[in-house]
């Protein structure tokens, strides 16, 4: 399907999650969560460890079946589609627990993703060109020939980011892609995200680095124990008493 990038007016959400619940045994990992992601913006999904952020990502991408609830892309329900069909609608992600192709080089990781994209899209750009562009954009030239299983975690996360970008996604889900990076690197990562959304991409960001979240996000959803406890602009979230209580003791949010 043709990607309508950049041009779409930021009116309708590109990704929506409605009344999502996930139960593992007797534990409610996610309870009645609804959220929406607009094109051309970074949307934050934050919360303490175990709040249900990664589970939500897994449900959106189809790796985890929800107990209840639906996922929509462009208003179309995709809840019953297998993961690969969701990806073909323009959904891509990175993983908190690394899922790199360890026995391929960095370049091959990105190239493979570009080839996958080419095989199911009508994009005529040669995969090698897409791969070179992504390597350039993320900054992986120096390690292009290194096998990924020999790389440090921080850079492996960037490989996952590059791999996701090579499928030219309309919605990009980033799961703690900045962990393991120092402030300078994080700043450059923030620049990259802002550049991506200025091209029309929608980003849903799970991140513990509050400074980064406050800088890049237009809208933030806060989860705690699987429940949505707040949503709003960065300023609203920072002043929300419920959010501050959830983060009490960790004083992360009260920067």
């Amino acid at each position: 399907m043709p990607a309508t990038r950049g041009a779409s007016p930021a009116l309708d959400p590109v990704l929506e999650v409605a009344d999502l619940s996930v139960r593992f045994g007797g534990i409610n990992a996610v309870s009645d969560v609804s959220l929406s992601v607009m094109p051309g913006r970074v949307t934050g999904l934050i919360g303490p460890n175990g709040a249900g952020k990664t589970t939500t990502f897994n449900v959106i991408t189809g790796l985890q079946e929800p107990t209840h609830g639906s996922v929509f892309i462009d208003g179309k329900e995709i809840s019953t589609l297998p993961p690969y069909k969701r990806a073909r609608l323009g959904l891509a992600r990175t993983f908190q627990r690394l899922e790199v192709f360890g026995s391929l080089t960095v370049y091959e990781n990105v190239l493979a993703a570009a080839e996958f994209h080419k095989s199911w899209s009508s994009d005529p750009t040669p995969p090698v060109k897409v791969a070179a562009e992504v390597i350039d954009r993320v900054g992986l030239r120096r390690v292009a020939n290194a096998r990924v299983d020999a790389l440090p975690t921080g850079i492996s996360r960037l490989v996952e980011l590059g791999r996701a970008l090579a499928t030219r996604p309309r919605v990009l889900l980033l799961d703690e892609v900045g962990s393991g990076l120092n402030p300078d690197e994080t700043a450059a990562l923030g620049d990259l995200m802002l550049a991506l959304v200025s091209d029309g991409t929608a980003i849903l960001l799970v991140e513990h680095d509050v400074e980064l979240v406050m800088r890049v996000c237009a809208q933030i959803f806060v989860l705690d124990f699987g429940r949505l406890i707040a949503s709003g602009t960065p300023a609203e979230i920072q002043n929300d008493p419920g959010v501050q209580a959830a983060y009490l003791g960790s004083d992360e949010i009260a920067s």
Binding site: Y84, A87, G139, N145
Partner: protein, 647 residues
Amino acid sequence: MTAFEGFLITGLVTGCIYALIAMGLVVTYTTTGIFNFSHGAIAMFAAYMFWQLWQGWDLNVILSFLLVLLVIAPLFGLLIEVLLMRPLRGASVDLMLVITLGLLLALVGIANSAWSPTVTRVLPQLYNGDGFRVGKVLVSWHELITVGALVAVAIVLRMLFTRARVGVAMRAVVDNPDLVAMAGGRPIRVQQLSWALSCSLAALGGMLLAPIQQLNILNLTLLVVDGYAAAIIGRLRNLPVSVAGAIVIAVGQQMAQGYLPNSGFLTRVQNIIPMIVLFIVLIALPQDRLKSATFADAVAPRVASLRASVSTGTVLVVAALITAGFLSGPNLKIGANGFVTGIELLSLVLLTGYGGMTSLCVLSFVGLGAFAMSHVGGSGGSLLGVLAAIGLAGGVGALVALPTLRLRGLYLALATFSFATVMDLAVFTQILGTGGNLAVARVHIPGIPTQSDRAYFTVCAIAFVLVAIGVLALRRGSFGRRLVATNDSPAACATLGVNVNGTKLITFTIAAGLAGFAGALAGGVPGSVSANDFAALGSLVVLLLARIGGINTATGALLGASTLTVFSVAQPHLPGWVGQLQYTLTGLAAISVGRSPNGFGGRIASLIERVRPRSDELPEELTSVNDDGTVGSVFFAEEKELAHAGH
């Protein structure tokens, strides 16, 4: 009706033995996480030890029985734990399979050397089969003891696992051995105990089964595999369900024997019932979600470039042409067979080495290939026969792959093994004949001599080289990247739009087609084939040869096949008992060399790389890339500063 009751009782008794076998498997699986493929071979070995002590050396029957059950078997279990299994903790399913299959093959080999299969040995039932009557049915003491043994074992295990401290520790160990160690437990002691216990259970099953069936090395090893089906029904965890499954399978088997027509295909059905049950249970089992990334046991060697593979291939063909002039007729045949085996190994390089799918049914596809070559190729050996061989094997491969695609690791291995057994016991005996050989002509290529032993040797060499170049080209290309990626992280592939099952299906089909191609050539070497050539155990040998040579390189396939060839050439010149060592040596070599998936081939590849390192040039497309200021380049700039500061 007496006949019915007779079948019922035999079924119940056999079921009790399957249950004992299944319990042994479950004990090691729940406490160590290792599925012991050699469990059946251990049972077989114990039955022979019992025969040796009791019949061979005239020891007292009870003393012999207890010696095997309480001394020899537990000691053997300890030995296995110390020598083989302890280093396996945390290893991949793949490695675990290779080690336990290697042990299976080694035990079969040693038994063949110690108790020559050409001599008939009889292991009498306990109390000579005497018994008592219940109504009109004779129940032997042996049968009663069997049922009693199962009941006793069930009670003891239940108490051990729920009451005794050590049993609770056994269950805890598999979840987290380190935690048990920190809590003051002794995980190693617990695992030793569980191996000892499981070997005793195997021995008990083997000693009780052999008198009912017959004392035959292969039959016993495979019969016991029937118990595996019961263990899988209990999902390798649930003992009561496994026992129930075992009894249902065995009774069903007896009823099939009793009431199905006594001629034609249906007579073979009873042999394969457990395998069909195993296959169905496996594909019906709920599977975990898409697997997360795993890291391989060892870094795979780099893939040879097109130039390197073509030039090496040319050298190999020229060498084959020259050698052909010096070799005798029989050795030319052995050599041709070696190249054909090489093609079988290449199919495993693609499927298992690159794709991570373990198949224990290679020879089933080879057999189908030979069958198609015989029927379509005709006596003239038409090329159409080769195409039919590839098509038939590939088609059946796709059919097998469809229901099993969701399976991974151990479950896929078991499903392919059950398929191989069904093909072996029911299909090949039917379509290829057991004694009567099926003629397979050598392929006829217009304008090229192929019929003499010398010419055919060269044809097989060229075929091997072409397949090797093809497999390597496939791996270097876009499909190869997709295949390796699918193996490294199925979850990531799915979220990048890859139909993971579709990729696996294509790979399985291609690999089966390659094996079929090998089959089309294989039959022409001796000129005929029979069902024995494609026995289920043979597929294990092929997989282990692939591991020995190196399962992820074409060099490895060549080396694995060469190992077999060298042994076959040497065999006639060796004393008889050494000649029997083929299985033993393959098994032992797999246990030692097969630890690394790279095998010998990998060692050679790393040597070559050390002598002549690859240039680390950037791909051409990237030379003009300038990524200054991006997150990655900031990362590396700082790494560099750190490195400088450190100096």
